[in-house]
Amino acid sequence: MAELDDVIHQPLRLRIMAALNALPSSVGLEFSRLKKLTGATDGNLGAHIETLAKAGYVRVDKAFVGKKPQTTVTASAAGRGAFARHVATLQEIIAGGEGEK
């Protein structure tokens, strides 16, 4: 059985990746929207996005919309692949667990 991805498995990072993966590959989510969707605090969300970015799973783009800074987070191809493998592993674990019953 494949191993779970330690970077993705943390609950908040899993939620971030699930949210980003639900969008088309070229579409990202603004930091403020991601915060609302995940229910995380600014600091916590920022730290976990950094971990995902260091692993190459997300791309972080910063731009100014008018005078306001806006951070957009987008899942990378590597991130999407890792997330798909992670989900497949979770499904294998569930199937294995049901097989043991």
């Binding site: 699930a18 949210a19 969008l23 989510l29 569930i94």
Partner: protein, 185 residues
């Protein structure tokens, strides 16, 4: 390694996030369409109040503009949201919607201006309520609220003042609801 219960919980978490993102995208587009529609409904009711003789042309123009605005907003939003909200099926739904409405008011019912002023908003809001069963309670709340306020006006506000009431509760209601949806998105 985790056990199957923890794996199920993780998958449930993923599914919940996917549903939230989907709802957020739908609310994003719907709220923009509602704000634009609300502004047009306010304008349509005030114009009908000021120039009742032209109200048929006013409302035909407002409805055509509303469909065009919905199409433009959906196309412009596609790159940002990834949701394709306007296609031939949505256009067909609009045509069926207006076709059935016209059948009711002109062929079956021979409605006067007041009945039409009640029929179209409540007919629209019926679809908001139905949409609420699939796409989120906000649609249901908005649909029911505007329907109730429309009926309150119909039964308690006499004469052409009813059009101003409709500008406030239907047009204003759509604008406020659009902002409420954006805020809660």
């Amino acid at each position: 390694m985790i056990d199957s219960k923890e794996a199920q919980a993780a998958l449930a978490d993923i599914n919940e996030m996917v549903a939230r993102v989907r709802q957020s995208r739908i609310y994003d587009i719907a709220s923009q369409i509602m704000i634009v529609a609300g502004v047009m409904v306010v304008a349509g009711n005030i114009a009908s109040y000021v120039a009742p003789r032209y109200s048929t042309y006013i409302w035909i123009s407002i409805n055509v503009l509303n469909v065009i605005a919905a199409a433009v907003i959906s196309v412009l939003s596609y790159r940002r949201t990834g949701v394709r909200a306007f296609d031939y099926r949505v256009l067909s739904a609009f045509l069926l919607f207006f076709g059935f409405g016209i059948l009711c008011i002109s062929v079956l019912g021979h409605f006067g201006w007041r009945e039409m002023s009640v029929f179209w908003p409540t007919y629209f809001m019926l679809f908001y309520c139905l949409a609420g069963l699939w796409f989120g309670r906000a649609f249901l709340t908005i649909g029911l609220s505007i329907t109730v306020l429309t009926l309150v006006g119909h039964f308690f506000i006499g004469g052409a003042l009813f059009l101003l009431w409709m500008a406030a509760v239907n047009g204003g209601g759509l604008i406020l609801s659009g902002f409420w949806m954006r805020w809660g998105e």
